[in-house]
């Protein structure tokens, strides 16, 4: 029985070693220290964030696609501390996320303040 115990222990060690090797194999990649997509977007929205912070409001309206998806969370993360209130009718400024760099078409009731050329355009609500 003691031999069986030692064999089982050795088997567990072998299984662990195999799993560890598999982790190394599956995670290996080159080159290291490449900038990730979020970092690149972070750089592209620096001016946008500056403009939004300069508005002097803590909340602005936010319009994007018909469904909430990860890019909306990512946009909030990038543009913090301004709160992006999705489809809010009460805010005087509205940030529209067009997802492409085509010239933005002002939605009804809004007038263009600035096109940031990174998928975002800022609008003011027409009183």
């Amino acid at each position: 029985m003691k031999i069986l115990r030692t064999i089982l222990m050795a088997t567990l060690v072998l299984v662990s070693l195999t799993n560890a090797a598999q982790i190394l194999w599956s995670s290996y990649h080159r080159p290291l220290l490449e900038h990730h997509a979020l970092w690149r977007r972070e750089v592209s929205v620096l001016h946008t964030r500056e403009v939004l912070n300069g508005l002097g409001v803590s909340r602005i309206g936010y319009v994007a696609g018909p469904f909430l998806d990860f890019s909306d969370f990512e946009n909030q993360f990038l543009l913090t501390p301004v709160i992006l209130r999705r489809n809010s009718p009460d805010e005087s400024f509205v940030l529209v996320y067009f997802r492409d760099n085509d010239p933005p078409v002002p939605p009804p009731g809004l007038t263009l303040v600035e096109d940031f050329h990174n998928g975002f355009a800022l609008f003011r609500r027409i009183p």
Binding site: T6, V13, Q76
Partner: protein, 466 residues
């Protein structure tokens, strides 16, 4: 420069944690002290930051207050160094030169650790962005704290940010924001390093607890299994809060296991309370944890009939839990919107759901499915673990008595029962809820499950000793 400043941000918690652990557990082995010190220090710094943030809603006041407390605690403990540090050797030691089992597991552990250290570099490199929850929740909240000149908490709990779980406690975002304030940059790499440190602490605490309670052979074997769990490693740097919670849960349970063995002096239940309080401040799931621990201790006190010692332990635990509980209460009372799960839970709903067989069937179906796929291992180690346990139990001397396993067993049962009840009453689509959270709930309990496993499987060293 940022890296140096971030290193500096870890210094004050490390020193404070080291002194607190030394005061509460004077004969703690050095490696164990290292893991516990980081957790205690960063936990206290983060909890004070979180509590002051809930009170004054200002990052500057929070930073000043948390640093003052850390430095103040360190200074007081340094000046009043009443108890001399007597580092005890680990209780159970293998014979000189080690047995064959110790040699096999020791060699395997060193090799596994080296391979995993290499793999961790690549995992770390590919995870700097963090997972979905990191961007949408934990780092987002930390950014609100670090970037808002006024009222960061008011922004975090804004009604339009309902999808980011505004009711979750803010310990982890507080820890991250504090480090960002020190470093002067809001880099996700810092969040990742913090996650990595918690992963290492979880491993260290689990390893040292088993080294102390069950011997070197089992500690090496535990190290092999835990380090070769891909889900544990990948999640450690995903910048989620689950590893942090796992870390605090494991430390709490380990403190009680060691205390139950009665071989070490000190105020281990107080230390356990401290960690349980931090667990409550980490995630909503953690709020149940101190309650589960208290229930487990009451049950053990009744079974063991040691009312005087049992009550003293529970009181010490209660004192330890207070800082975390106070911070949590301040946040929940002053700011947090009601939790979507608790808000809709009524006795009627609970009774009707309890009688709903389909609800239970779905939960159990996912539990069994998750058990089969948990860990993301290439080679599934569970069958070998079960076989090893059976053989170890058979070869153990009949009169070998151990009490340390009772605490992890009760905590595992209690936490699983609590999580089960949440799934029963959830207002969210059950399948979606299970798919997105069950694996992480299991991960939170995985190190504790390993502690339990290695306490019920007698090691060769224990058999020799008995």
């Amino acid at each position: 420069m940022s890296a140096v400043l971030f290193g500096l941000s870890c210094l004050a918690p490390m020193v404070a944690g080291w002194l607190i652990v030394t005061r509460l557990w004077p004969d703690v082995p050095r490696t164990f002290r290292l893991g516990l010190s980081w957790m205690a220090g960063i936990g206290i710094g983060g909890t004070v930051y979180f509590a002051t943030l809930s009170l004054w809603d200002s990052r500057t006041i929070s930073l000043v207050f948390s640093e003052t407390v850390l430095v103040g605690v360190s200074a007081i403990l340094w000046i009043r160094k009443g108890t001399r540090t007597i580092e005890q050797p680990y209780a159970i030691s293998a014979p000189a030169g080690g047995t064959l089992e110790t040699k096999i597991t020791g060699f395997g552990f060193v090799l596994t650790a080296l391979i995993v250290a290499g793999a961790f570099v690549f995992i770390f490199d590919s995870s700097t962005q963090g997972g979905w929850d990191a961007t949408a929740m934990w780092n987002l909240k930390a950014r609100f704290i670090a970037r808002s000149d006024s009222s960061p908490v008011a922004r975090i709990v804004d009604s339009y940010l309902g999808d980011t779980h505004p009711d979750y406690p803010l310990l982890l975002p507080s820890i991250i924001a504090r480090s960002w304030q020190y470093a002067g940059v809001e880099s996700t790499t810092i969040s990742e390093v913090i996650g990595g440190l918690f992963t290492f602490s979880t491993f260290l605490v689990t390893f040292c607890a088993i080294r102390l309670l069950s011997g070197r052979t089992h500690a090496f074997l535990l190290g092999c299994i835990l380090l070769s769990t891909p889900f544990f490693l990948r999640h450690g740097v995903s910048q989620y809060a689950d590893i942090e919670l796992a870390c605090f849960i494991t430390a709490t349970v380990s403190m009680f296991c060691i205390s139950d063995c009665g071989k070490h002096s000190g105020h281990l239940p107080l230390l356990a309370g401290l960690f349980a309080g931090f667990a409550a401040c980490t995630k909503n799931e953690g709020i149940l944890f101190p309650l589960v621990v208290v229930c487990a201790r009451i049950l053990l006190m009744l079974i063991r009939r040691n009312y005087k010692d049992g009550m003293r332990e529970i009181v010490q635990f209660g004192v330890g839990v207070l800082p975390g509980l106070m911070a949590l209460l301040l946040f929940k009372v002053l700011h947090a919107p009601p939790s979507e799960i608790v808000n809709e839970a009524t006795l009627g709903l609970w009774l009707s759901r309890m009688q709903n067989g389909a609800q239970h069937f779905t939960i159990w179906k996912y539990v069994f499915r998750e058990i089969r796929s948990f860990g993301s291992w290439w080679l599934y180690p569970m069958p070998f673990m079960i076989l090893y346990l059976i053989v170890s139990r058979i070869t153990a001397p009949p009169r070998m008595s151990k009490t340390a396993w009772a605490m992890p067993a009760l905590v595992l049962l209690g936490m699983m029962a609590a999580d089960y009840m949440v799934y029963v009453i959830t207002p969210i689509d059950l399948q979606w809820h299970l798919q997105t959270s069950l694996s992480r709930l299991m991960l939170q309990l995985w190190p504790t499950a390993l502690v339990f496993y290695f306490l019920i499987a007698p090691s060769g060293e224990q058999m020799n000793a008995s």
